[in-house]
């Protein structure tokens, strides 16, 4: 049914999905931009955020605690992974980095499956942001509106960290020329660790925020990872604004196409990616710096 209200609510769905994709992709893209490592465990970290949040929720019953718990746990996991494994791969070929992060992703997924089983879990948001809201022209689930707001705040926070703090300054300089940052007396390797942690946290945060919208399962990360790749290819690898733009475009494509025929949404997304690759091989806002 193609009605006006339907179109608007689908566009809202696209915005929700797009915002989440933008956040996850930002994490992937700043890790790649700074460290030069494509993190195939990113989907698994998204999923892990959901589970860590659910566990916190189970203990505390608090949604806020769940979001904080999920995000912080994944931050920690990210730091451990970087210190334990990734840092030994900076001088190895891209293919090795891809393989090892792919393997790490599998280990995380299987660990979760072992601990929680394959059943899907869910988290209920506080009553303040649950239920439905009448926006006048359309009636829409309140939590989904809240997701857009929460993710927007998270992206803003990420933006502020990247563009308004010393750490962000170092990260931006490091994306451009890590060797020169090192020569100015800053231990870039420690910065790499923090960046990997923050990038992981972005995925984990999205994972727990998404939990009330879609149930958590151990395999939820795979599909997200693929969509994240498409977002990054569209937006341009290593570009934070590109990740946001790409995320929003991808979200709208997926949900508007599903309105017409859900079966074609992924195909459409892929077609757009191909088009971007043909027209602008470095993505819409890509930088040529890396590679």
């Amino acid at each position: 049914m193609l009605t006006w209200a339907n179109l608007v609510s689908q566009m809202f769905n696209g915005l929700v999905l797009g915002a989440l994709l933008a956040l996850i992709s930002s994490g992937l893209t700043i890790i790649y931009g700074t460290l030069g490592v494509l993190n195939l465990a990113h989907g698994a970290l998204f999923m892990l955020g959901g589970y860590a949040g659910w566990l916190t929720f189970d203990y505390t019953g608090s949604y806020i605690a769940a979001v904080a718990g999920g995000a912080l746990f994944v931050l920690l996991v990210g730091i451990v992974i970087e210190r334990g494994i990734i840092r030994f791969f900076y001088d190895r070929p891209h293919e090795d980095q891809i393989l090892v992060t792919f393997g790490i992703g599998i280990v995380i997924v299987e660990l979760v499956r072992l601990s929680f089983g394959s059943l899907s879990l869910s988290v209920t948001p506080p009553s303040l942001i649950s239920g439905i809201t009448n926006l006048g022209f359309v009636i829409y689930p309140t939590y989904r509106l809240a997701v857009v707001a929460i993710v927007a705040v998270a992206l803003l926070a990420l933006y502020l960290v990247l563009y308004r703090t010393r750490l962000g300054m170092i990260v931006r300089a490091g994306i451009e020329d890590a060797g020169m940052v090192d020569a100015l007396g800053i231990n870039v390797y420690r910065v790499f660790m923090v960046v990997f942690g923050i990038g992981a946290m972005a995925a984990g945060f999205a994972g727990i925020v998404n939990a009330p919208v879609a149930p958590i399962t151990p395999d939820v990360g795979t599909e997200i990872l693929v969509q994240t790749f498409v977002v990054v290819v569209i937006g341009g690898v290593g570009s934070f604004p590109g990740a946001i733009l790409g995320g929003l475009i991808a979200g709208e494509i997926l949900s508007l196409t599903s309105m017409i025929n859900p079966a074609y949404s992924q195909v459409m997304l892929f077609a757009v990616m191909t088009l971007v690759l043909v027209v602008s091989p470095h993505g819409l806002l890509g930088v040529r710096g890396r590679q």
Partner: protein
């Protein structure tokens, strides 16, 4: 004890041998020039001192302590600072951010005002991004970034390369002022006249070897040395 003493330094790019048993000595408050043809190994020497190229053997003693093999950020914190040939200004950061970033880990950083006093041009352009600067401004920023850390030794690699004569004059003035203030400098520069007028002593490097060492006045008195190692 010299401020910097290099003995038997050997450096490679991959497996290509660039520096052969380099010995150098730099005293405090001294300006030392490395001269030689293009490709002789002068830049590699500076990068080795900074730790951006890891020497394969040899010692680099800074105030008696061997820093050879240490990472660049460690050496930077000990007080050596390189102004690289390609300048390597951060294009996505503005002028002030470039300078602030540089002074983050310095033990006794200069106040920004002092930098802006030396380079008024940078003060005017403090909020322009690195990519928007002219070549001369980028060079000023690269030097400012090193100075703001108040380093014991500044390594200047081709500071005048590719710049208009007016800008070179400007930078020369800055260099002279630094020399007067007692800043220790190791200078690599193709402009021989400028180099000899700034430096106290010079090492001539040819095909990765130190082949001559003398005071600049002595070298000026023997133009055949320059002819031999720099001319055709």
């Amino acid at each position: 004890m010299s401020l910097l003493e290099v003995t038997g330094l050997n450096s490679y790019y991959g497996d290509s041998h660039i520096l052969f048993d380099i010995d150098l000595r730099v005293e405090a408050n001294e300006v030392v020039a490395l001269i030689g043809r293009n490709g002789a190994g002068k830049s590699t020497t500076l990068k080795s001192l900074m730790g951006m190229v890891q020497p394969r053997s040899g010692e680099i003693r800074l105030e008696g302590e061997n820093v050879a093999g240490r990472k660049a950020h460690v050496i930077a914190r000990r007080g050596i600072q390189l102004v690289p040939e390609e300048r390597r200004v951060f294009g996505s950061l503005d002028v002030e951010e470039n300078i602030v970033l540089a002074r983050l880990t310095a033990s006794s950083a200069w106040p920004l005002e002092r930098i802006y006093e030396i380079f008024p041009r940078l003060a005017e352009r403090r909020s322009s991004r690195g990519t928007d600067l002219s070549g001369g401004e980028q060079q000023m920023l690269a030097i400012a970034r090193a100075l703001v850390r108040d380093p014991k030794i500044v390594l200047l690699d081709e500071p005048f390369e590719g710049l208009a004569p007016v800008i070179v004059q400007d930078l020369m003035r800055v260099c002279r002022r630094l020399v007067e203030e007692g800043q220790t400098i190791v200078l690599v520069e193709q402009n021989i006249a400028a180099t000899l007028s700034l430096a106290d002593r010079a090492y001539v490097i040819n095909n990765g070897h130190v082949v001559h060492e003398d005071t600049t006045s002595a070298i000026r008195a023997q133009p055949e040395i320059l002819r031999r190692y720099l001319g055709v």
